[in-house]
């Protein structure tokens, strides 16, 4: 029985899922950088974060973090119209982008881990805040570059301890 998923496997799944979306529905360039592991609380964020939860025999979270400018670019590419500032359309588009990427990552891992469920995405937009998933030892972070914009996707997944009792707790958002 598998007891861990390596960061290399997570990064590979994130890259595959992201490339698929960017080459089909978004048609934006995508350049990935080497992944890294994040073991301490992430830096405070100014911008947009989308969170999607994974549940089942394994528990986890996928997180997309980007600037307001790149969120507008994502929405513009997805909906084929320009956006100058973050509004409801932009937040909905970022939520759907995260849903499709993390959903594809989930599908890749289901071959190894069995059926997993996906939560409905949560999107946060603001300044000077942090997100934290209690009980998660580390995140695998894959930075991306799209023309001049840098953004990243993070993912953590760990075995569910016992039936109905998860090691990881729901994400929380802290204003700092």
């Amino acid at each position: 029985m598998i007891d861990r998923i390596s960061s290399e496997e997570i990064a590979a799944a994130i890259r595959t899922a992201s490339q698929e979306l960017f080459s089909t529905m978004l048609q934006l360039p995508l350049e990935d950088s080497p992944f890294y592991e994040e073991t301490s609380e992430p830096e405070s964020i100014d911008g947009v974060v989308a969170l999607v939860g994974i549940a089942g025999s394994w528990t986890g979270t996928g997180r997309i973090a980007c600037s307001p400018h790149f969120a507008c670019r994502l929405a513009g590419a997805l909906l084929m119209q320009p956006y100058e500032s973050v509004n409801e359309d932009v937040l909905d588009a970022v939520a759907e982008v995260s849903n499709m990427i993390i959903g594809s990552v989930k599908t890749i891992f289901e071959e190894k881990l069995g059926p997993l469920a996906l939560s409905i995405p949560t999107v946060i937009f603001g300044r000077n805040y942090r997100t934290r998933s209690s009980g998660v030892p580390k995140w695998t972070v894959v930075p991306f570059r799209t023309d001049g914009d840098t953004w990243n996707i993070s993912f953590c997944v760990i075995p569910t301890k016992t039936s109905g009792q998860h090691i990881a707790r729901p994400d929380v958002v802290l204003a700092v």
Partner: protein, 119 residues
């Protein structure tokens, strides 16, 4: 035609693809989840339903099950358009009566090809 998805972005994209493809299915209606879809179907007659699976209130599998159990709607073709890519989910939807399955992310061509094979 009825598009059922909790994402306004996906409803907008599918709407645009269907209009561009000039598919002769009449007016395109939208619903944000299974409950909303059942409400819309009380007043709107549709010839095809495109539905997501993961939605709040009532998901696409429950909506599919309810429609296929109802004489008034069981002949309406339903295509699932969803991020759910597992073989088990695909099989479940097809066994419940869905006529097709398109996984997100999709291209406009994939949607057109799928619908061309159904209409």
């Amino acid at each position: 035609m009825l598009i059922v998805d909790d994402s306004a972005a996906i409803r907008k994209i599918l709407h645009r693809v269907l209009v561009q493809a000039e598919i002769p299915l009449g007016k395109v209606h939208e619903a944000s989840d299974g409950v909303d879809a059942l409400e819309k179907l009380k007043t709107e007659k549709v010839g095809l339903i495109l539905s997501d699976i993961n939605m709040p209130n009532m998901d696409g599998i429950e909506l599919l099950t309810k429609l296929k159990a109802d004489d008034a709607y069981k002949s309406v073709p339903i295509v699932m358009v969803t991020t759910e890519g597992s073989q088990a989910k695909v099989m479940q939807a097809l066994e419940l009566g869905a006529v097709g399955y398109v996984r997100k992310p999709f291209t406009a061509e994939q949607i057109k090809e799928k619908l061309a094979g159904i209409i």
